[in-house]
């Protein structure tokens, strides 16, 4: 078949020329090529912009509201309540929403391909399944981390400003726990995005993925306290999103994990589900 290829090449000199310019690439598709492709895709997915801007804006708005209302309540608090008052956690309360929006973005970045069947052209162009999923994961992690960082940063500033004007204790950026929560919070939201991607890869349907992510991030933690004793304690301590959320707290509840061990639990969970997603994606018919 070399003759055909030679004929094909010589017919389109502009390709041959570009290849020569590109040097030793010799037309081999690489992982950076897949990264580039996935970046174009996520950039041209309509929901991406909504999620990024919405997460940051709503985060700052929630921080302002929570901060102001805390100011109203603080004066009437008991001493014990004042001891557990956590301005850091209050300002980042919006993470409850942000974890879901970013996880949905992660889920959508693959379920949109299954829904629209573009996964067929994606995998025809790059039959190396792991390369495709890895590229999606890296691009998503980058978008999620940057969005998460802007979210935690904006929420912290807006929330502390609202607390300060309400006359309650507040923090500044010079506080060491502030940067731990801002950067760690961004890492937590990155993990949430990857969990969304892994879940979407396993489930494929957008609707079912959305439902699953809502259940995992909101419903289980919400109903946790109503579970029978031991299960309730276990859920609030070890449920991955609850444990991971500890990275954004200032007051250490003795019943809960410390910030970094909490984030490690979340990381372990995401690593497990992501591994399952890779194994499934490699084996399954597209």
């Amino acid at each position: 078949m070399t003759t055909t290829e030679t004929r094909t090449r010589s017919r389109t000199p502009h390709i041959a020329h570009k290849e020569a310019v590109a040097g030793q690439r010799e037309g081999r598709a690489t992982f950076p090529d897949s990264l580039h492709a996935e970046y174009i895709k996520i950039r041209t997915m309509r929901s991406t912009l909504y999620v990024v801007l919405g997460t940051i804006a709503v985060g700052a708005a929630i921080a302002t509201l929570v901060g102001s209302s805390a100011g109203d309540g603080f004066a009437t608090m008991t001493t014990a309540e004042k001891a557990t008052f956590d301005p850091l956690a209050l300002s980042l309360r919006g993470y409850m929403l942000a974890q879901v929006t970013i996880a949905l973005l992660g889920g959508m970045s693959i379920t949109a391909e299954y829904g629209s069947r573009t996964v067929v052209s994606t995998l025809t162009a790059v039959p190396h399944r792991s390369r495709v999923l890895a590229a999606k994961a890296v691009v998503l992690a980058a978008v999620a981390f940057l969005t998460g960082l802007l979210f935690t940063f904006a929420s912290f500033l807006a929330g502390q400003a609202a607390l300060k004007s309400g006359g309650t204790p507040s923090l500044t950026l010079s506080d060491p726990s502030a940067w731990r929560a801002i950067v760690g919070g961004a890492l937590f939201l990155t993990l949430a995005g990857l969990l969304g991607l892994a879940t979407g890869t396993l489930i494929r349907s957008t609707t079912a993925t959305v439902t699953t992510l809502f259940a995992a991030f909101l419903i289980v933690p919400a109903f946790g306290p109503a579970f029978p004793g031991a299960l309730s304690d276990w859920t609030s301590r070890y449920w991955p999103s609850s444990a991971g959320g500890q990275i954004m707290t200032g007051y250490q509840d003795p019943a809960l994990l410390h910030p970094w061990p909490g984030l490690a639990v979340m990381t372990g969970c995401v690593a497990l589900v992501l591994t399952a997603a890779f194994l499934t994606f490699r084996k399954r018919d597209a």
């Binding site: 055909t4 949109a112 629209s116 052209s121 039959p127 190396h128």
Partner: protein, 304 residues
């Protein structure tokens, strides 16, 4: 060229593709024909490496798709023209595909020009008509300027002008030395287009032949004869070497003798003729007869 060797795909116990072997040669358009559910799409998906075969192999220019360093340069495929993210523009749809294989941006403009979508390339692909989506699918297939094209039902849903365009394009691609595999479930769609024919039914190979041979073999010419003396005249025709079939009252269907010979024979014997008409069986009929036993869901069967 595409080589399919003993290809089999089972879903549970049911074989969708059953020990299929055929070759798609360079410089030819190969028609891949079969009734709905015959396994055409499954076969194409295995050639593309989208589905893993239960057994057997499918190679493109000697290698499985996975082993090609830049798959879009080895093979272009149109499987499902509707497969576009509705909100994404055609341009970005193609740009992402091109990027994944390290193809230069100029290729995107070139293929958009080629299929006539350059002017609407920035519009959301969801707003495209079926014909435009089909053109976009072809653009994607041509991105890597590949020597092999796999097109699943490329004429589906096209208007007459689109069909002419698509046929011309496939002809040109084959003329440039590329191997083109196109599927269809309608013989009439491909009899004007293809050089070679692979017919399957229920996942099995039924015919693998050049189109010319298929036409010679199956476009039998028959002559319909109506005469009040059909019985005795039928015997005479049979004596003259024709295959004669009584076809209702006073009506014969004659094969093996042309209308002039039959007319002459009638005149010679003073037989009164009411009708003498040439009838050509269409390739569609030949195809139907060929695949009759392998049609998955047929109205006849349900009525029985």
């Amino acid at each position: 060229m595409i080589e399919v060797q003993g290809l089999t795909k089972r879903y549970g116990e049911v074989p969708a593709v059953d020990d299929l072997t055929f070759t798609v040669r360079a410089g030819e358009i190969t028609g891949f024909l079969g009734p709905n559910g015959a396994g055409k799409s499954s076969t194409m998906r295995m050639i593309l490496g989208l589905d893993a075969p239960t057994s057997g192999t499918a190679t493109v220019n000697g290698r499985p798709m996975r082993a090609h360093p830049a798959p879009l340069r080895a093979l272009g495929a149109l499987l499902d023209a509707g497969a576009v993210l509705p909100s994404r523009s055609a341009y970005h749809h193609l740009l992402a595909l091109a990027a994944s294989n390290g193809l230069p941006r100029g290729r995107v403009d070139a293929v958009l020009e080629e299929v006539g979508l350059a002017a609407v390339a920035r519009r959301a692909a969801g707003s495209y008509s079926l014909g435009m989506k089909q053109r976009l699918g072809i653009a994607a297939a041509l991105l890597g300027d590949p020597p092999v094209l796999v097109l699943d039902e490329p004429l589906n849903g096209l208007d007459p002008e689109g069909i002419v365009w698509m046929r011309g394009l496939m002809r040109r691609m084959a003329g440039e030395g590329r191997a083109v595999l196109m599927s269809s479930h309608l013989m009439s769609e491909i009899e004007l287009t293809v050089d070679h024919l692979v017919v399957i039914g229920r996942g099995r190979l039924i015919a693998d032949t050049s189109m010319a041979d298929f036409i010679a073999e199956h476009s039998a010419r028959e002559v319909v004869v109506r005469s009040p003396h059909s019985e005795s005249f039928g015997r005479r025709l049979a004596d003259a070497g024709a295959a004669v079939r009584a076809d209702g009252a006073n009506r014969l269907t004659v094969a093996g003798l042309g209308a002039p010979e039959i007319g002459a024979l009638a005149a010679l014997n003073g037989v009164e003729l009411h009708e003498l008409a040439l009838r050509q069986t269409s390739l569609e009929d030949a195809f139907m007869a060929l695949t009759q036993d392998s049609v998955e869901y047929s109205a006849d069967k349900e009525a029985a």
